[in-house]
């Protein structure tokens, strides 16, 4: 047996995708299904080494559809399950992401985003899936998506993604990008006693589904995972709280659509994380992911020049941090939105700002290149009254 082992606690110099894989192991992931794709492949490569060593399973599928389906199946078998892909794979997974939200399945999906549309440019980081991550499957639903900005967060937000998936029985998408996935930087692996690990609540074994409410509970129902005599009835078709199909009652349809959404939205304060660093009267840069690093550099430079500059970084992008954006807008003289795309979250940010202050948008000068902090600083100087 080849000797490889999960990274020991302490400082490391590692690739973002590897840090993410280490985070999955730390979170208790025991199942990954995946299909090779640039720039996400290193996650599968690493987990194929590590999972069998920790009693888990790595499974390479015939396509991304099978990968996400197998992960959902493994989650119902009681495993902490994940898959990892890039934009083209996420497009293929969309139907099953809807299935996972409708069946309230804990699941982590990593999307190491690359330049699209279509096959695009595989090794170039563009945050092109920000909306399809949350709105790409048909119907109304709500999931959770996180946006790491550093190698350290590739680890930490992956742990967080598993915890949220287990806590709320929902798919959680980690929206990294090619820059972050492939960049090597300093990552500190925490020791186990520094980490909080959440496990799903389980339904009472050996009971009848009609005696339980396995679904549609906004406070999160215990999960009747398979193999414990729960005789769970799991379907993504319109169902009642017992999981039994109901395709005729309008009240049942309403509850089927709205309650899993309410489950997430009513807990949004527990879910949403932002990094807020602004004061009254600042020009506030709103950004997320890799771009937030350019925002931070620009704010530091602006402050060095004595300018009133601040920033808001969205670590959680879905459910959308509307309250936090609105609060920033109330304080700000104006808001500058930085996105490494043509403005995917901009309409949501504008809606949250709601006219509280002017909103400016700056994409990178060339798509696929990171923002130059100098040009961000220039824009800030222009908009400062």
């Amino acid at each position: 047996v080849k000797r490889v082992s999960p990274c020991r606690p302490g400082p490391h110099f590692m690739m973002g995708n590897i840090a993410l894989a280490e985070g999955a192991i730390a979170a208790g992931c025991t199942f990954m299904a995946g299909y090779p794709i640039t720039p996400a492949s290193e996650i599968a490569n690493r987990l194929s080494q590590l999972l069998p060593m920790v009693g888990g399973t790595f499974f390479q599928t015939e396509d991304e559809i099978a990968a996400v389906c197998a992960a959902v199946g493994a989650s119902w078998a009681g495993k902490k399950a994940m898959t990892a892909t890039s934009g083209p794979g996420l497009s293929l997974m969309q139907e099953t992401i809807g299935f996972a939200t409708a069946t309230e399945t804990p699941l982590v999906i990593v999307d190491v985003q690359r330049l699209g549309p279509s096959t695009g440019a595989p090794s170039v980081g563009v945050a092109g899936d920000m909306v399809q991550a949350a709105r790409g499957s048909h119907g109304d639903y709500q999931l959770i998506a996180l946006s790491p900005a550093t190698g350290q967060e590739m680890f930490a937000l992956t742990v967080c993604a598993f915890n949220l998936a287990e806590r709320f029985r929902v798919p959680v998408i980690v929206l990294a990008d090619a820059f972050l996935g492939h960049m090597k930087e300093s990552v500190r692996i925490p020791s186990t006693d520094e980490m909080e690990i959440v496990n799903r609540r389980l339904a009472e074994p050996g009971t009848d589904p009609l005696s339980r409410n396995d679904f549609l509970n906004p406070s999160v129902a215990p999960m009747p995972v398979f193999g414990r005599g729960c005789r769970a009835h799991v379907t993504s078709s319109c169902h009642d709280a017992h999981g039994m199909r109901n395709l005729s009652d309008p009240a049942a349809m309403h509850a089927y659509v709205t309650r899993p959404i309410e489950k997430i939205i009513s807990h949004r304060d527990e879910i949403v994380q932002v990094e807020a660093d602004y004061s009254k009267g600042d020009v506030v840069l709103v950004s997320y992911g890799t771009t937030a690093r350019a925002a931070q550099a620009a704010v530091n430079a602006a402050r060095g020049k004595g300018l009133h500059a601040g920033r808001l970084r969205l670590k959680t992008v879905w459910p959308f941090p509307d309250v936090e954006v609105e609060a920033a807008a109330r304080a700000a003289s104006s808001i500058v939105v930085l996105e490494n795309n043509l403005g995917q979250l901009l309409p949501y940010i504008r809606a949250a700002v709601g006219g509280e202050c002017p909103v400016h948008f700056q994409p990178p000068e060339r798509l696929g290149q990171l923002h130059d902090p100098v040009s961000v600083l220039q824009l800030m100087e222009e908009v400062i009254p």
């Binding site: 399973t57 499974f59 493994a74 398979f226 799991v234 078709s237």
Partner: protein
Amino acid sequence: MKPPVHPLKKFIRPHVTRTTMCPGCGNGIVAAAILRAIDKLVLTMDDFVFVSGIGCSAWIPSPLFDADTLHTTHGRPVAFATGVKLGLPEKNVLVASGDGDLTAIGGNHLIHAARRNIDITVVLVNNGIYGMTGGQTAPTTPRGISTITNPYGTLEPPFDIAPMAVAAGASYVARWTTAHPRRLEQAIAKGIQKKGFALIEAVSQCPVQFGRASGIGKAVDILKYFKEKSLSLKKASGMTPEETSGRIVVGEFADVEKPELSSQLEELRERFRRAEA
């Protein structure tokens, strides 16, 4: 005297008193064959996880069977079932779904599951047409039949599913029709017992869509047609393709032992456990 209770009622969810199947549908025969096989093997519903896709036959286990059931998206039950099996290798995982689900939209998953030889039993109900959506051509529809989407007759030859599963690597493959319920039951029992990928193709009647499109008629007419057209694999092996054309070749197409995926993965984990100790 207590009223008689159907011997398979113990396997049915107590509150489910109706089926969604049309009168004369073959799904009842297939469902009964699955449950009799489980009964004969002296297994319980707690030994199983049932997975199904979308289509009429996907409603065999869901909501009928009093067990853990996963009713999935169209074409993907084998992919979901693979994840369930890898997560719960000690359970029997049985997929029940149709020809459209498993060989059209889900064909690739079926082929790869057979290649991997993962220990799943697939009962593929082949009625030669899309029933639920109203009688469209399936990849299994016989050439020349007029359907809703081939009103001037189908132009494509049908899939020969059982030999395809053999070629892909399945450990156990059998084909019977709903006119052979006991053979079907025996094949399903063997499939459940087989440590490896098992495909049981159940050629079944859809009187509402296929009966009408083919002109064969109602359920009894189709069952008679199945009996008449069935040809044992043994007999067929000595015949030319022209001679077997239009016949339903039935029997066991494969029954072999070969390495199975979930147990190989368990051996891998065991190697690491031993290395650790």
